[in-house]
Symmetry: C2
Subunit: 350 residues, 2 copies
């Protein structure tokens, strides 16, 4: 089988785990086809958006250590999924497992992080479940509503669409590289904000949308797989957040590595048809928001990026699977990326 | 402070953890006042029911060991909360953390338990989140809908109401006693079914309802606290499941210990006004279901049970707090219950 017919590793695993479960006739989306689950509400024209996401591997791996930040991210990762379907926020349920050894000061910082993120996202805490155990585990379930109109999913892009990001990219990758590979280097400041307000505007113009929680290149690989299109990205230095670009340079790493990681920046990537771009930009400007055009869709299902004056093709499937292939070890993962960098095809098209 | 003004330990802790969080103006219930969170859906007359519950302490303590049963209970504990508010089931989101050491056979049994419970409860899997870590952690978030009429909460009982249970009681307690205190004894068969269908009938007749996930006496203590009423229970041998009564006798324990557990049987306890009892029973009979009348509400906020030909008063607040006071140690907990048994006031009223 070639890359086009093989499922990405995590999609294949989830298919194995969930394959036997029954589906709901109320569900609007198929599995993997949207960031939040979309449920038609009987007797109404509304669609409910539901998502659940936990901060667990990030704590175990040492990527997240600060209790305030862990609390903040518990809310943010769920808010980001609601943003990607264009839902208005309703609220959040928390599922916390607290170690009995946790100091009061840390517990207060954790709850403060949750509270501040809820308040920033407009997601009141509706309820939750608190357990005690040996390890900290933070889960949540966020709920949103789409009262009118079509929900936004990961499917619907055409090869003629233009590609946007809700903000500069690469900070999530730069943060993870510093934390896990260069622990003596201070990571760049990273505390993402939700794109819930922007997502509700995006929904009315975009043909597909997905958040970059798993990294930009994994997101583009998934959108390419689901839509049967490719993406040609603008120059890497234009797309990257200046701090991510500087971090790559300081570490002597190819800048595109900042887009490769499995830890993303929680921005939205979405496609807008040519004829809708002007109206979309005007409405975004009304919010004081400047979406970034980062490239365009292409009929050929390949991902390329402009580097060193060339269009360089990236094997996003291999890049996406590299972390799992490295057994989740950060240094083995970096070695794999460096090998993949040698195979990047440069200048196959002007 | 006396028991009437002191909060139960877990309520006080949750108040401390959640006290700073903002509330939603769409929320129908106050904190602790219903088993599932009740959210008015803007632009509709429907109320959404949401709950999240994890199987975490039960795994760490060794109470739950069988993967199929862990999968089953992950769904059931959430379904039970929807049942207690009388919601129709919509679906469930899973949040699994799987240890990489888990054998394929165990993983398959776990997923089969989830699948069978979902199918038995009519709760399709809408989506979820899968992580990998050192310990198994199973969380879920269940969603239900109340399309018309008043949601059912833990508040609304009057001192003239009659008290019902959806089925015989004490099996959850008997199971936990066998598992944690007498590991050489086979626990009674225990695989609770959801009361989702019954809950939708209960909602139209009952004044308050709560599931017994935390044990019967903790449930009655909470209903007493929230409603300012007491409960006089019928004879313990009438209320208990025969297998729970037999287990208590075989272990030489007072039978009421089977109602004391922090691990309950996932039945519903609810109050029905005198004038609604006949219609309620008739409709229940139509479902082939025989709700059990287990006692009556009383103006005095005390819990009593008929034992040895006497009405015995139980200090449910002390019983409820005993597990936390024992630091979660099963043998220290049993020692506390035995001391509390000596203080049970017998025959203070005929």
């Amino acid at each position: 089988m070639n890359a086009a017919t093989t499922l990405p590793r995590e999609v294949a695993l989830l298919e194995r785990l969930a394959g036997g479960f029954g589906r709901s006739s109320l569900q609007y989306n198929q599995r993997h086809e949207s960031d939040a689950e979309l449920i038609r509400l009987p007797g109404t024209t509304s669609v409910l958006a539901l998502t659940t996401d936990a901060i667990s591997e990030e704590i175990e791996s040492g990527l997240y250590t600060d209790p305030y930040f862990i609390g903040w991210m518990t809310v943010l990762v769920n808010a980001s999924d609601l943003a990607a379907v264009g839902a208005a926020p309703i609220g959040i349920l928390l599922s916390q497992t607290l170690p009995s050894s946790m100091a009061d000061r840390e517990l207060e910082a954790l709850q403060r992080g949750v509270r501040d993120a809820c308040s920033a996202c407009g997601l009141p805490v509706l309820g939750g479940d608190t357990n005690f155990g040996t390890r900290l585990h933070m889960g949540a379930c966020a709920v949103g509503l789409i009262e009118n109109g079509r929900p936004l999913t990961r499917r619907g892009a055409t090869a003629a669409d233009r590609l946007f990001a809700s903000g500069p990219l690469g900070l999530g990758g730069a943060f993870a590289f510093a934390r896990l590979i260069q622990p003596d280097t201070a990571p760049p400041a990273f505390q993402p904000a939700s794109r819930l307000v922007e997502g509700q505007v995006v929904r009315r113009y975009a043909t597909c949308c997905m958040d970059t929680s798993d990294g930009v290149l994994a997101t583009l690989d998934e959108l390419s797989r689901l839509n049967g299109v490719g993406f040609a990205l603008h120059a890497v230095e234009e797309i990257l957040h200046p701090a991510a670009f500087a971090a790559a340079r300081a570490a002597g790493l190819p800048p595109w590595f900042m887009l490769a990681g499995p830890h993303g920046e929680f921005e939205l990537l979405f496609t807008v048809p040519e004829q809708a771009v002007a109206a979309f930009r005007a409405e975004a400007r009304g919010l004081g928001w400047e979406p970034q055009e980062i490239g365009a869709a292409r009929p050929q299902p390949e991902i390329s990026i402009w580097m060193n004056g060339c269009s360089a093709r990236l094997d996003t499937r291999a890049i996406r699977d590299a972390y799992a292939d490295a057994g989740g070890d950060a240094r083995a993962y970096l070695a794999r990326l460096l090998r993949l960098n040698e195979t990047v095809t440069l200048c196959d098209s002007p």
